[in-house]
Symmetry: none
Subunit: 400 residues, 2 copies
């Protein structure tokens, strides 16, 4: 997507677009020589493929296996190589922390050190999330740094996010995790002279944290990495001249949606309540992003049958979405997670567009072999949204 071109051509319209992302959608032939989608023969998706048009997306680049973060940024229309989001910012937004423009975030790990300060366990025995939450509460409450506000938020197990809020903070700090045990955490070093005042603050945080935790036998120290500000993403509402909402259960997807300017709606934790949430807010937004995680989870677990079943589970909710009469319904994936690989992969991802103005093609099922010869062809995932919004007549003509 050429952002300046979109900004210039996007136009308000009285149309609605729903983007359904089935995480890790793409698959590979399994035990019976058919992919998860072929095996699932999802009734409604197959019908949409027959009536609509299909293709294949390349998430980040040829041969590149992507994480879900960059995979989603591409589906939201951004080049993931241009908009790389630091681990700290991703972690913070992923726990629903609303990063402000003055915030500097890091990903933290609790670790265990011995009396001499030598790391004996880099992940503090994967201490439970509740304990980490208690420790974070203690650090946030007790530590005060001059001129900045401080947030210490638990993520999961030994992971936490540290956010400093104040003017002039600089992200040019090193990673203090030595990536091995038997040595002390590294000192905080400014990688850029302009980051030295920030380094001074972070050193003070580390020292005070160590003092507060020193009586503990486990999770008595910490490491920090991935310092970053909130990325300066062009915001979807301004870029596309519309109101955009995300209906996602998992924190990282909620965080990413917020970063690109979507409103993140409260929704339950299952697909029924997610669809219900869209229904409730149908008149408030022009664009809905609906995230479905479980195809990826099953794929990552190497569970071909469960991934197939998850596809069918999702498929069962297509009629409820269609009942809302979206002008354009898109079903895509952020990357492939073939169950036979039990991992993300680089393979292109099936995609379908259904609704107004689709030029139908010969494909009549929603699966890999059909999508390869679909009317949309094989194209970069970052181009999907312009294609979808074109179908919704939300892009005006270029040139006379």
């Amino acid at each position: 997507m050429d952002i300046e071109l979109i900004r210039r051509l996007s136009t308000p319209a009285d149309t609605k677009v729903v983007l359904c992302v089935m995480d890790g959608l793409g698959g590979m032939p399994g035990p019976r020589g058919r992919t998860e989608l072929e095996e699932a023969t999802p009734r409604h998706l197959d019908r949409l493929a027959a009536e609509g048009t299909v293709g294949m997306t390349i998430p980040v680049g040829y041969g590149i296996t992507t994480g879900s973060g960059p995979g989603h940024l591409a589906l939201f229309g951004y080049d993931p190589l241009q908009f790389e989001i630091g681990r700290g910012a991703l972690e913070a937004t992923g726990i629903d922390f609303a990063l402000g423009p003055d915030d500097l975030a890091a990903r933290g790990n609790l670790c265990t050190v011995d009396a001499a300060g030598i790391i004996t366990d880099r992940r503090a025995g994967r201490v439970d999330t509740e304990t980490t939450a208690e420790i974070c509460g203690l650090l946030e409450r007790e530590i005060h740094l001059p001129g900045v506000e401080l947030f210490v938020k638990p993520v999961r197990e030994h992971r936490f996010a540290l956010i400093l809020r104040g003017p002039g903070l600089h992200s040019g700090l090193n990673e203090t995790d030595p990536q091995r045990e038997g040595v002390a955490p590294l000192g905080v070093v400014a990688l850029d002279p302009a980051a030295e005042p920030t380094a001074v603050l972070v050193r003070q945080f580390v020292t005070e944290a160590r003092r507060l935790l020193m009586d503990r036998t486990q999770a008595n120290a910490l490491t920090l990495r991935g310092w970053d500000h909130r990325p300066n993403m062009p915001q979807m509402p301004e870029l596309w001249k519309l109101r955009a909402a995300a209906v996602a259960v998992y924190p990282m997807y909620r965080g990413l949606s917020r970063l690109v300017g979507m409103d993140v709606l409260d929704c339950g934790t299952n697909i029924e309540s997610q669809v219900e949430t869209i229904k409730q807010h149908w008149h408030d937004y022009d664009f809905f992003f609906l995230h479905f995680k479980y195809t990826d989870s099953a794929g990552e677990d190497g569970d071909f049958a469960r991934k197939t079943q998850m596809i069918r589970d999702f498929d069962a909710h297509i009629p409820s979405l269609l009942a809302l009469k979206p002008n354009v319904l898109v079903v895509a994936g952020d990357h492939s997670t073939p169950a036979v690989m039990a991992d993300h992969s680089w393979h292109p991802v099936p995609v379908l567009i259904s609704g107004d103005h689709v030029r139908t093609d010969a494909a009549h099922r929603f699966n890999e072999p059909e999508c390869i010869v679909g009317g949309l062809g094989t194209f970069p995932a970052k181009e999907l949204l312009p294609i979808a919004f074109a179908h919704a007549r939300r892009l005006s003509r270029f040139g006379a």
Copy 2:
């Protein structure tokens, strides 16, 4: 291929990749309405296409007919438009001359001139290589230029390479071959004022060479073109974190391989001995490039039947390669050379990937009509290597 991204994501692995390049592979329908590949029905390649995945590569750009040099650079993962290699540098490296950082190389042709200095034969009757070697020895021995070392090396028939070694040499010189007979070779001209000192040296070389050769009736003069330094190519072993070897018979392909950091193995002059060379070195390398020239030669000669036979000849050696159990076997072409055109062409080139983690597709033969609808789609040739190395699990994940 995004070189910085590859550098960042490439990861060592215990897998082996073989890239077979059938020069000028792509064809066009011949006398019976079928392309060379369709007519050949190569048994083993067709089976690999059925079990693996196929597609089409675009060597340099839409509509661009490429020489073998840029065509191969693309297959090695480099953008041929970004990394242009002068003919001189290519020719010198192609004869196993190790170009140094201070070297400036040109491609030379011996020609025949009459008493008035007018070219009567631009290729000196395609004088034999031995005579050219004698002449080169004479010139290298007898000519001395101030401040630079001089190398004159025979290539094949009337062709030779001239290398000047010294500080501050500039490649901005014209081509002295007038590209027709009946006129004298052009004078040496500096195309950039900074190249004038180099032009002075080269003029002196040309004058002295003419004096040394004037008693000859044939091959008594020379022309020069393609002045260039050694290109500064990212090296495959460093870029991909692997050991790479080339098994090529023809000098230019050996030279290109060396320029991108491959070890160039000693091998015989036929495909049997090339395959045997790979077998002997199987445990020493992670990546092998195997070059097969004769499909192109037959295509250039406009010999449809011979090109078809050359495809079958190559096909017969596929089992020996498979017996080595490569994780990934790629069969590609550097460009199309349709026999009916008797020339290189811009048409996309069939490609197949066989081995680990291929997502099979509906294509069950290795030919143009099937590759068009293959699972790899139609893509830039420079993206082939990332795709191949992805299949060999030599690229780690991008982002969280």
